[in-house]
């Protein structure tokens, strides 16, 4: 049933518009949002793999040059898209569920932003058209800014405006790069561009082609929050509501991998591409983790850790072998789940204490044992402790970099994992284990049940992926073999 492929984008998009228009009817909107949120992970799982041509314009064969042209916007749906869209759908469901149970009177515009962001990342993953990707990338940026500005945390407007101003440098630069590619190839369909590059219609060593890589690469840095954008990315995570931050980081990861896979398909013939990706990934790992070690606001700390972990994904893509890219994509999947768990868990603590400074917290283990236990396991998974899912993907990455002949990168990856572990142990000690400060009020405040439910679901996935990684990695490996 290939009709389900466009529905993955249309359902959240239409739901966003309908909810925003009819948010006056509180109960009906709540039920509608809940039903749509349940549908989101089910649609990709029920759909068959295949291609969808919008408008029904099938590819045309040019009889003179015997090259296929794709006149329609094409959506391609394979195992990779299925697993990531299902995961983002599940996460959206959990976040919407937390939001619906937390507030009696819901806000239509906020749900609009959540669904709009989900629709945008889904389209970015599915599309085979570079300009279509750019359009949804801009829509995603607007949704992210809205989610940050809607939060009740101090200075969220300032952070949203900063993100927007940086975005209005990053996105047009990326558009300029797409313009360069359009000028060289006359097409915005990625398959056509790749064919033109591989058939020698485009001179791969020409400065214009190289500059287009530089410009799109800069846009990718902005999308994924690698340096120099690591401060703003961690900033917007820390200024959004916790469940919003859980969704924001998954948007970042998905936009990162969807853009880098497009760049990989077009530019993989150039050795400089892999050098650039590895350089910025290593920089992100070093800066992210070393700044996370010095933070006292634990939301900001998780934000920096999330940016540092993105370096692992980039490392896998940059090494460029089938095994390494599989490891990078598997790490991306794990990071979406683990970081969402950490954001929701620490958000539960903020909910219960109204305090974000680790220096003023302590002794929470006795008050919130369930949350602290699940957070501990999530943190261990992020640091790469067996048998959790983070361990499997990091082990794959270390093996991949060893077999590529870069033992330094393996050592660096292990060191970053250890430093992540240190960050986590330090924070866990400060918040949960040491004696409670006298001026900390904890009585009568509880953690919402929906947050514990969401954490439990994510935790089960972490453990299952850690024990049976082959379920995902074999499918991803097949996909990577297809684009190599």
């Amino acid at each position: 049933m290939n009709e389900l492929i466009p529905l993955m984008v249309i359902v959240p998009l239409m739901a966003a518009l309908i909810i925003s228009a009819f948010s006056r009817f509180n109960t009906v909107t709540k039920i509608f949002a809940f039903v749509v949120a349940i549908c989101l992970p089910i649609i990709p799982l029920a759909s068959n793999y295949g291609l969808h041509y919008f408008g029904g314009y099938a590819p045309m064969l040019d009889n003179v040059t015997s090259v296929m042209y794709h006149p329609a916007i094409t959506y391609s749906f394979t195992f990779l898209q299925q697993i990531f869209i299902a995961m983002i759908g599940l996460l959206t469901f959990l976040v919407v569920f937390i939001y619906l149970t937390k507030y009696k009177k819901i806000s239509g515009p906020y749900l609009f932003l959540l669904f709009l962001g989900t629709a945008a990342v889904t389209a970015m993953l599915l599309t085979d058209d570079i300009f279509h990707m750019f359009v949804f990338f801009e829509i995603l940026a607007l949704a992210q800014v809205g989610i940050v500005a809607a939060s009740s945390i101090d200075y969220s407007y300032e952070m949203a405006l900063k993100y927007m101003i940086l975005g209005s440098i990053g996105s047009p630069i990326m558009l300029l790069g797409i313009g360069f590619l359009l000028a060289l190839t006359g097409s915005v369909n990625i398959t056509d561009i790749v064919a033109a590059v591989h058939n020698g219609l485009v001179d791969a060593t020409s400065p214009v082609f190289l500059t287009s890589l530089g410009l799109i690469f800069f846009g990718w840095l902005y999308a994924s929050g690698l340096p120099p954008f690591h401060t703003i990315k961690s900033g917007i995570y820390s200024k959004a509501e916790p469940h919003g931050a859980a969704l924001l980081q998954s948007f970042t990861v998905i936009s990162m991998i969807s853009i880098v896979l497009i760049m990989y398909r077009i530019y993989s013939a150039l050795p400089i591409f892999e050098v650039l990706v590895v350089f910025f990934s290593i920089l992100a790992m070093i800066l992210g983790v070393s700044l996370a070690l010095t933070q006292t606001d634990f939301r900001r700390m998780i934000g920096f850790l999330a940016v540092g972990e993105l370096g692992f994904i980039g490392l896998g893509i940059g090494l460029g072998t089938q095994y390494a890219i599989t490891a990078g994509l598997f790490q991306a999947l794990n990071e979406i789940i683990i970081t969402a768990l950490l954001f929701i868990g620490f958000g539960a603590i903020v909910n219960a204490t109204n305090e974000v400074d680790t220096r003023k917290l302590g002794g929470l283990l006795a008050y919130h044992p369930k949350v602290s236990l699940m957070l501990l396991i999530g943190g261990l998974a992020m640091a790469g402790v067996p048998p959790l899912s983070g361990f499997q993907s990091k082990l794959m990455l270390v093996q991949a970099s060893l077999s590529c002949g870069f033992p330094e990168i393996s050592i660096l990856a292990i060191m970053v994992s250890i430093a992540t572990f240190v960050v986590f142990v330090k924070t866990f000690y400060a918040m949960f284990l040491r004696p409670k400060p006298n001026d900390l009020e904890l009585e009568g405040k509880s953690v919402p049940k929906s947050m514990i439910f969401a954490m439990g679901v994510l935790l089960i996935i972490i453990v299952l992926l850690g024990i049976f990684p082959d379920v995902v990695t074999s499918g991803i490996s097949n996909f990577v073999g297809g684009i190599l």
Binding site: V135, A141, G179, V188
Partner: protein
């Protein structure tokens, strides 16, 4: 007529460079946003220039036109379609940015970037 296209390309690059200059050196937030939107306009202008064809016709196939003559003389329509989308996105981004600036102006009473968009920890000291 290649000079026309070249002139457009130089203009678009100049717009991008002016935008990047204003991003760093202008303090007033409204002027900064105007400057930054130049980058967007530069990128749009560049893409329009790609579709330019000296002596070309509007890419609409009218009844009675010879198809091969049309294919040889029509301008390339794809860039125009793309730029139309891109302008709409740029306008909505600009609107959201200016709305946020309005809120922040009411809070701080100034348009200086150094005051209203400084480091968060310093702002906390400033407010205390």
């Amino acid at each position: 007529m290649a000079q026309t296209q070249l002139a457009i390309l130089f203009t678009s690059i100049a717009l991008v460079v002016i935008g990047l200059y204003s991003a760093i050196f202008i303090d007033n937030i409204i002027k900064k946003i105007i400057g930054i939107s130049f980058i967007e306009e530069g990128a749009n202008l560049f893409i329009v220039a790609i579709g330019y064809k000296a002596g070309g016709v509007v890419p609409i196939l009218m009844p009675g036109m010879d198809t091969s003559w049309f294919a040889a003389n029509a301008a390339y329509p794809l860039p125009f379609g793309l730029v139309l989308t891109s302008i709409v996105i740029g306008a909505s981004t600009l609107a959201v940015m200016l709305a946020l600036v309005m809120v922040l102006y009411k809070r701080y009473g100034t348009l200086s970037t150094k005051v209203m968009l400084a480091d968060t920890s310093k702002q906390e000291e400033y407010n205390e």
